[in-house]
C-alpha cells in the first residue's frame, strides 16, 4: 500500500529526467570506483617507475615521475650479477617450487577428492571430516612445528622439505570431492566398469578429462600460493642458493637497514620485486576466471 504513491511519483516523472539522473549516478559511481582503482594501481605503477631509477635518482627525483635517464639496463645487469648472481637462482627456484608443488598437490588432491566422491568405504566420513576440519587450521600455524620436526628428521634446507608440506592441500581435496560429485555421473563410471575398465583406468581415461577445469583452478591456486609463500621457506631454508624470490629479496631488503653493510641495494630490490610480480600480473587477466572460481567456492558452498 505504502509503495503505491512512490510508484505513481516515479511514473509521473518524464522519461528524460530519469535517464539524466541515472547518468549522474553512473558518473558518481564510476568516479568512486576509479578512486579505489587508483589506490590499487598506484603502488604497482610506482614500482615500475622506481625500478627504472638509480639510487641517487631515487632520492633526488619526484616520487611518481619517471627519471630523465632510465637506468633499467644498468639495474638489470646489477640485479643478475650482485652476490655472484644469486637472483637467478631465486628466480629459478621460485619456478621449481611453484610448478612441482602445484602439479603434485593437484594430482594428490584430485585423486583423493574423486575417491571420496565416487566410492563408499569405511572411514570415508572420517577422512572427509578430517579434511573439512583442517580447512580451519591456518598454514602459518604449522610452520614452526614443521621446522622442529623436519630439523630432527634431516629434511631441513632441502627442496623436498619445502615442497612436501605444501602438498597437503585440504582445500584442494574438499573442492575436488564436491566438483567430482557434480561433474562425473555415476552412470558413466558404471558403464565403464561393465566395459571391463579397472578403477584407476576409469579415473585416468574417463574422469580426468571431465575434472580438468577444476584441476586447472587448483593448479593455479596452488601455484600462486607457493610462489607467494614466504614464512615456510624462510624458516626451512638456510642455503641462499635454495631460496625462492620472496625470501631472497627480503634478505636484500633487510641489508638496506644495516648501516655499513656493503652498498644499499635499492634498485636491485625494486627491480627484483617487479620481476617477481610481473609474470603473474601479465597472465592474471587470462587466469582471473579460474582463480575466482576456486576462491568463491567455499563461500558459495556455504550459502
Amino acid at each position: 500500500m505504502s509503495a503505491l504513491p512512490a510508484v505513481r511519483r516515479r511514473g509521473a516523472r518524464s522519461p528524460g529526467s530519469g535517464r539524466r539522473s541515472s547518468r549522474v549516478k553512473t558518473t558518481i559511481g564510476t568516479a568512486a570506483l576509479l578512486v579505489a582503482a587508483v589506490y590499487v594501481i598506484a603502488p604497482i605503477y610506482w614500482l615500475v617507475v622506481a625500478s627504472s631509477k638509480s639510487t641517487s635518482q631515487l632520492f633526488a627525483t619526484s616520487t611518481f615521475l619517471p627519471p630523465v635517464h632510465l637506468s633499467w639496463g644498468a639495474n638489470f645487469r646489477s640485479l643478475f650479477s650482485f652476490g655472484s648472481g644469486e637472483f637467478k637462482y631465486w628466480l629459478a627456484n621460485s619456478f621449481v617450487y611453484a610448478i612441482v608443488t602445484a602439479t603434485l598437490a593437484t594430482a594428490v588432491s584430485t585423486l583423493c577428492g574423486y575417491g571420496l566422491a565416487k566410492y563408499r568405504f569405511r572411514f570415508r566420513k572420517t577422512i572427509f571430516g578430517l579434511v573439512v576440519g583442517s580447512l580451519m587450521v591456518p598454514a602459518t600455524a604449522l610452520v614452526v612445528p614443521l621446522f622442529l620436526l623436519e630439523h630432527d628428521v634431516g629434511l631441513i634446507n632441502s627442496y623436498q622439505g619445502v615442497i612436501l608440506p605444501m602438498l597437503v592441500y585440504p582445500f584442494g581435496v574438499y573442492f575436488m570431492s564436491i566438483f567430482a560429485a557434480d561433474a562425473v555421473p555415476d552412470t558413466l563410471v558404471d558403464a565403464s566398469r561393465i566395459d571391463g575398465a579397472g578403477e584407476l583406468r576409469i579415473f585416468w581415461q574417463i574422469a580426468r578429462p571431465i575434472l580438468m577445469p577444476g584441476m586447472v583452478t587448483l593448479f593455479l591456486l596452488s601455484f600462486i600460493g607457493t610462489w607467494n609463500n614466504y614464512f615456510l621457506p624462510l624458516v626451512l631454508l638456510g642455503d641462499t642458493t635454495k631460496f625462492p624470490l620472496t625470501v631472497g629479496l627480503s634478505t636484500w631488503a633487510s641489508d638496506l637497514n644495516q648501516a655499513g653493510v656493503s652498498q644499499p641495494l635499492y634498485p636491485e630490490v625494486l627491480l627484483g620485486s617487479l620481476v617477481s610480480v610481473l609474470p603473474m600480473l601479465v597472465l592474471f587477466p587470462f587466469l582471473q576466471k579460474y582463480v575466482a572460481r576456486g576462491l568463491t567456492f567455499g563461500a558459495i558452498a556455504g550459502e
Binding site: A6, T26, G29, T30, A32, L33, A36, A37, V40, I44, L47, A50, F59, T63, V108, L111, C112, Y114, R120, F121, F123, M136, P138, T140, A141, L142, V144, P145, L148, L149, L164, L167, V168, V173, D190, A191, R193, I194, D195, G196, G198, E199, L200, N228, N229, Y230, F231, L245, T246, L249, S250, N257, S276, V277, F284, T296, G298, A299, G302, E303
Partner: protein
C-alpha cells in the same frame, strides 16, 4: 553381492557398445571397489599424517619439555607464555588491528561489490580485474613496495604536510606508533579485492526475479542493495570475516619486512615473536608452547565470532536462503 552389480546395468544402454560385452568384473565386488577408493585417498593421507598431524603432535610434546634440560617439565612453558607481557601485547595489538582493519576492509569490499553489481557503474569487468590484482602480488613484495612508499626519505609526497605547515616535522608512517596503521593500509590493499571477488560471485547468485519484483514495487537501487542484496549474502560476509580474523592473528610477512626496512620491532605480532623465540633465541620448547597458545586463541576468536553472529543469520536461513 555380485548379483547386485549385474542387476544394475540399466544405464548401460546409454553407451553405444554397452550390453554386448559380459561384465568382466575386474573390480566386481563393492568391497574391492571400496578398497580402490580408499587407495585413492592414500597419498593424501600419508602426506597429511606426516606433514600436518605429526608436526602438531610433535609441537605439543615439545611444549611440555624444559628449555634448559629437555626433560619433561609439565606446563612450565605455558606458564611462561601466559605471564609474558610482550606476547599478550602482541595479541592485544592484533585484536585492535582486527577490529579496525577487518571492519574497514570488509566494509569497503561490500561497498565496491554492491557498486559493481548495481546499474550505476561502467567498466565492471575492468574494475573487477583491477581490484583483484593484488591477490597475485606476494605479501612480501607488497610490504616492500609500501614500505618504500611510506619511507619519508624516498617518498617526496610525505613531505607535503610539513611544507604546507600542517605538521611540525615530516610524518613518518613507519615509526613504532604509526606502523600498525601502515600495516593496516598494506593488508587492506592486499585483500580488499580478494574479498570483493568472493562477494561479487555471491551477488550474482541472488535470484533476478526478487530484484525485478523489488524494482516493480518502486524500490530504489540503494534500498535494493541495503535491504535485499546485503541480507541475502550475509553468510558469505560471515565467511570472509572469519577468514580475515584468522589471517589477522597469523600476521607475519608484513611486520617482518617492515621491521627489515624500518625497525618496527621484532615481536610486533605473535607469529613474529614465535619466529624469534625459535630462531633468534633458540628456545624451541617455548616457541612450541607459544604456537599452541596462538592456535587456541585463533580457534576461540573464530568460534566466539561465529556464536555471536549465528543467531542473526540462522532463524531466516531455512525460509529465505533455501538450499
Amino acid at each position: 553381492m555380485a548379483v547386485q552389480d549385474v542387476g544394475r546395468p540399466a544405464p548401460v544402454g546409454s553407451t553405444a557398445r554397452g550390453g554386448r560385452k559380459a561384465p568382466r568384473a575386474r573390480s566386481a565386488s563393492p568391497a574391492a571397489r571400496g578398497r580402490s577408493g580408499f587407495g585413492m585417498t592414500a597419498p593424501f593421507l600419508v602426506l597429511f599424517a606426516g606433514f600436518f598431524v605429526a608436526p602438531i603432535v610433535y609441537s605439543i610434546v615439545l611444549s611440555l619439555r624444559s628449555p634448559a634440560t629437555g626433560a619433561y617439565a609439565g606446563l612450565l612453558n605455558y606458564r611462561t607464555v601466559l605471564s609474558d607481557g610482550a606476547f599478550w601485547s602482541g595479541v592485544q595489538r592484533m585484536a585492535y588491528f582486527g577490529v579496525v582493519q577487518v571492519s574497514v576492509m570488509i566494509g569497503l569490499a561490500i561497498v565496491l561489490a554492491l557498486f559493481l553489481d548495481s546499474p550505476y557503474c561502467r567498466g565492471r569487468k575492468f574494475f573487477a580485474l583491477v581490484y583483484f590484482l593484488p591477490y597475485a602480488v606476494p605479501g612480501v613484495i607488497a610490504a616492500i613496495m609500501w614500505g618504500f612508499l611510506l619511507e619519508p626519505d624516498l617518498d617526496s609526497a610525505l613531505r607535503i604536510p610539513r611544507i604546507l605547515g600542517i605538521t611540525g616535522s615530516t610524518v613518518n608512517p613507519l615509526d613504532f606508533r604509526l606502523a600498525l596503521y601502515a600495516i593496516m593500509l598494506i593488508v587492506t590493499w592486499e585483500f580488499t579485492g580478494y574479498n570483493m571477488t568472493i562477494l561479487l560471485t555471491s551477488l550474482t547468485n541472488v535470484p533476478r526475479q526478487v530484484l525485478e519484483a523489488a524494482k516493480i514495487d518502486g524500490c530504489s537501487e540503494l534500498s535494493i542493495a541495503a535491504r535485499i542484496k546485503l541480507p541475502l549474502i550475509r553468510r558469505t560476509v560471515v565467511f570472509i570475516v572469519i577468514l580475515s580474523i584468522i589471517g589477522t592473528l597469523q600476521l607475519f610477512n608484513e611486520p617482518m619486512i617492515l621491521n627489515d626496512i624500518a625497525n618496527i620491532g621484532s615481536s610486533y605480532t605473535p607469529n613474529q615473536m614465535i619466529y624469534n623465540t625459535a630462531f633468534s633465541f633458540g628456545n624451541e620448547q617455548l616457541a612450541a608452547a607459544q604456537s599452541v597458545v596462538l592456535a587456541v586463541i585463533t580457534v576461540v576468536a573464530t568460534v566466539a565470532f561465529y556464536t555471536i553472529v549465528r543467531r542473526r543469520i540462522d532463524p531466516f536461513a531455512a525460509s529465505k536462503e533455501g538450499a
